[in-house]
């Protein structure tokens, strides 16, 4: 840890704490003004704190486990595009989760969730993984071109170092 890594908490930080605290209190007060009953107040705190805890204890370790597993299976050259593909897949599934499970649909209202969301989600994921494939192919072509120019012993041989090398998982 270098000296420059150490955080400094000068006057500006404490002024920001006062300002930020005042802004946050606007939200706390508006909720307390809206709901006088303890049950709803406690539920709100549970949802906000719970979202953080569930992320840190369940979602993040799960994402890291999936990443580690995928890292073992996927060749080095494909890893970065595949990693982005996994992030995109998680985002697509999170956004499509309600329509996919139909849990938000209203019985009388045909205009809410009007699509077949299984095929819509499949199409969205198809686009994501097509981009991953195209990106991987581009990387492969670039690496091949760099390797070829290196083999010819040209002055640009040093550029071959941009080709991905085996990395530790993570």
């Amino acid at each position: 840890v270098t000296a420059s890594d150490r955080r400094h908490y000068g006057v500006a930080f404490w002024i920001a704490l006062l300002a930020g605290g005042a802004i946050a209190l606007v939200g706390v007060r508006s909720f307390l003004d809206t709901y006088a009953d303890a049950a709803r107040r406690v539920s709100f705190v549970k949802w906000v704190v719970g979202a953080d805890v569930v992320h840190d204890v369940v979602v993040a370790p799960f994402a890291i486990a999936v990443g580690l597993l995928a890292r073992r299976v996927v060749p080095d050259r494909w890893w970065r595009p595949v990693q982005s593909g996994l992030v995109a897949t998680a985002a697509v599934l999170l956004l499509a989760w309600r329509p996919l499970t139909g849990s938000g649909a209203w019985k009388h209202n045909v205009s809410i969730q009007p699509l077949d969301y299984r095929s819509a989600t499949a199409t969205a994921l198809g686009v994501v993984w097509s981009v991953v494939l195209a990106w991987s192919a581009l990387r492969w072509l670039r690496a091949r071109r760099a390797a070829l120019s290196g083999a010819r012993g040209g002055v640009r041989a040093s550029r071959a170092t941009v080709a991905p090398s085996p990395r530790p998982p993570g």
Binding site: V48, V87, N109, P114, T121, P168
Partner: protein, 372 residues
């Protein structure tokens, strides 16, 4: 001193640069969502110092469409940012000074609030409410709490963020490229999910709205509704028995039948229905100007106008027009849309349609107009 990171966290991607770029992108998204969200809230519950205005007619459509699309783009950015900084959760010792302890404590409302905003927003656009409190007050409160915590976080991390945004001359070309690829993936995913959603408000891209729970061309008469006539027991309103009552400031009342309303001078306006859920649809409306009804009732000097629905459910039964909006030539009591009488789900026999207004305030099944 910190403990060395454990092996699973030894990724070349996790760096000040990645955290800084994602942090700046997230901060921009949060500010856009906060500003547009406050505007939406002010239109629905105007504070004393704010008077809702009618022009530009499509302003709310733009701001609320932007609010939801930006919120959607936030999802992958937030996931990537939390992944990038996750090892810091296990920093040891947990804090090294009071300032450091305060900074870390404020991460709870920051991260919890940000996740709650995204989750409750995604639930709301799907009309899903798995909590005992209403969406709007909770989303509003969480926004202030999150932005307050964000101010503290920015003050604490501004040095490291500035350094991260500078070119890192010590990183190897492989690490630099890995970070660039990761950032391209995260930012590109944000753009992609936004593209899969924006069609719910931007009609030319409606076929790409794969992740949006609405399409601007899906619903009765070719556009969406939130509250159906059946859900409030108004799917069979008898036009013959219908009466509209206009109450002037001094209590005089004027009553119209459906046929009498149709016999009044009719005006056309092309205006969007723009909903808080971020979808919108522009249609051609035809009906009686609200200002003509007010003038006929002797209420030309009305400062405020309340529009009341036949629905019994008190939620959004009544909405208020400021003088400027009530007297706008495009503010109509609409009887037709696209040349046909309104579908019951769109408010038959008549509904309010006014420029620059949230959809929930475009009162349907109108039975009473009260001027004060």
């Amino acid at each position: 001193m910190r403990r060395p990171p454990s092996p699973p966290f030894r990724s070349e991607v996790r760096s000040d640069r990645v955290s800084a770029v994602l942090g700046v992108a997230l901060g921009a998204c949060f500010l856009v969502c906060f500003a547009t969200g406050l505007y939406s809230h002010a239109l629905q519950e105007p504070p004393g110092w704010f008077t809702p205005f009618a022009r530009p007619a499509g302003l709310y459509r733009f701001t609320q469409g932007l609010h939801v699309v930006t919120g959607v783009a936030t999802v992958p950015l937030l996931l990537a940012k939390l992944w990038a900084v996750y090892p810091k959760l296990f920093e040891w010792p947990p804090f090294t000074s009071i300032g450091h302890a305060v900074e870390r404590l404020m991460l709870l409302p920051l991260v919890g609030g940000a996740l709650f905003l995204v989750l409750s927003g995604v639930n709301n656009v799907n009309i899903s409410y798995p909590y005992p409190f209403s969406f709007r007050p909770a989303h509003y409160a969480a926004a202030w709490i999150t932005v307050g915590a964000l101010v503290v976080h920015v003050a604490a991390t501004i040095r490291v963020t500035r350094r991260g945004l500078r070119r890192d001359t010590t990183a190897t070309s492989v690490d630099t490229r890995a970070r660039r690829d990761f950032l391209a993936g995260a930012l590109g995913t944000g753009a992609l999910v936004a593209l899969f959603t924006v069609g719910q408000t931007y009609r030319p891209l409606r076929r790409l709205a794969l992740l949006a729970p609405r399409r601007p061309d899906a619903g009765p008469q070719g556009f969406p509704v939130n509250r159906t006539a059946a859900s409030v027991g108004l799917d069979h309103v008898d036009a013959g028995a219908y009466r509209l009552t206009v109450v002037a400031s001094r209590g005089e009342t004027t009553t119209y039948t459906y046929d009498e309303l149709r016999a009044l001078p009719q005006h056309e306006a092309t205006l969007p229905i723009a909903c808080v859920e971020g979808w919108s649809a522009s249609r051609r409306w035809r009906g009686v100007r609200v200002r003509d009804l007010l003038d006929a009732a002797g209420a030309h000097d009305a400062v405020r106008v309340q529009v009341v629905s036949m629905q019994q459910n008190p939620l959004y039964r009544r909405s208020e027009l400021t003088r400027g909006v009530a007297r706008d030539p495009d503010t109509l009591l609409a009887l037709e849309v696209d040349g046909a009488p309104l579908h019951p789900d769109h408010g038959f026999p008549c509904r309010l349609i006014a420029p620059n207004r949230p959809g929930v305030e475009q009162t349907k099944w109108v039975e009473r107009i009260e001027a004060t």
